[in-house]
Subunit: 203 residues, 2 copies
């Protein structure tokens, strides 16, 4: 198998952190997203949505979407579980992974893509008013995350999960989006220091 | 347990269709979203993100996000599987459910919420330019879905799955968003007629 990787972009990074947490090594095929490599004919043939990462299995099966690829590896290598344990635990991880991704990470991404000059060729059309509308949304969502982290070591509860990976990538993406973590969100800051110190954060 | 339901909105409907396909009956607590019931203090206490549906278990555990609640029921009642079978099958269902939800349904929802006059109090601020930007995206995504459905009976392959539920809700949401399925997308139209004829579509 091989994994088409996209470097520093959030979704390729989520994938590499997940694999590092699992201790799984997969040969990487680097794709230069800055040179629009993800829009090439070869990548489009693998994924018509032109997104990375992409996993290609030896039989030619193609899987896209970092969470879907992560679930494939979770099925093959269940330990340590990163999608939760038991019916309630799995649902809680899914719930928090979705809250982090669909609300916070989506808001941070929109703020970045719709306001950053470097994204003019990426986000067509850029709608700066939409980017700006997402900054206060991102802050409001971070406050809810902080409240959860005041009562729990990890975002989905007592165990590290894929939701922490998504949140790490979302928080680290604040910087290019020019959004700050409010000073008073001490639990989110504590969590961010903890998770950033894991070896997987460098993946 | 009880399920706080939100009527005709896409996510509550996804949840009811999923339960109908599984043959599971859960007592529903209707929440009047037109009267902003989902922003009440009682609902906010259950879900700080103020979204529906919400599942409350008898021990007080609260689960939100229709896909997370669906996964809870999939774990408890595996048959018929609606999240796929085997590592590759589960990943393919997750991949297609995400493609349908994060690209198509998100685009249709943005077009509706950012351009419809009735949504002024819902989407703050409304950014009409962002709504308009999503119409051609929705059409482009439908073309990719049509191509998949030209080669497969269901959106994730040979079996009905949660991804078909998400796609049904997305396609039915085109009407309020004032987007048409292009005439030439005959496979998507064939699929829509098939899935709409299932008893669960009325749930």
């Amino acid at each position: 198998m091989k994994l088409y990787d996209g470097g520093r972009a959030p979704n390729p990074r989520r994938m590499r952190i997940f694999l590092a947490e699992k201790g799984i090594e997969v040969p990487l095929v680097p794709v230069d997203m800055a040179a629009m490599g993800h829009k090439s004919a070869a990548i489009t043939a693998l994924n018509p949505f032109q997104r990375l990462p992409i996993l290609e299995l030896d039989d030619g099966t193609v899987l896209t979407e970092s969470v879907a690829i992560s679930r494939y590896f979770e099925e093959l290598y269940p330990e340590p579980p990163l999608f939760g344990r038991g019916a309630v635990g799995k649902a809680q991880v899914e719930m928090w992974n979705r809250r982090v991704e669909l609300y916070l990470l989506a808001a941070v991404t929109a703020a970045f893509r719709h306001t950053h000059p470097a994204m003019v060729e990426w986000e067509i059309p850029q709608v700066p008013a939409w980017g700006e509308a997402n900054r206060p949304k991102a802050v409001a969502y971070m406050k809810i995350m902080d409240d959860q982290l005041a009562r729990n070591e990890f975002i989905a509860g007592r165990e590290f999960s894929i939701a922490d990976i998504t949140l790490l990538v979302g928080i680290d993406f604040l910087k290019p989006a020019k959004i700050q973590i409010p000073e008073e969100l001490v639990s989110l800051r504590r969590w961010h220091a903890d998770i950033s110190s894991r070896p997987s954060a460098k993946a």
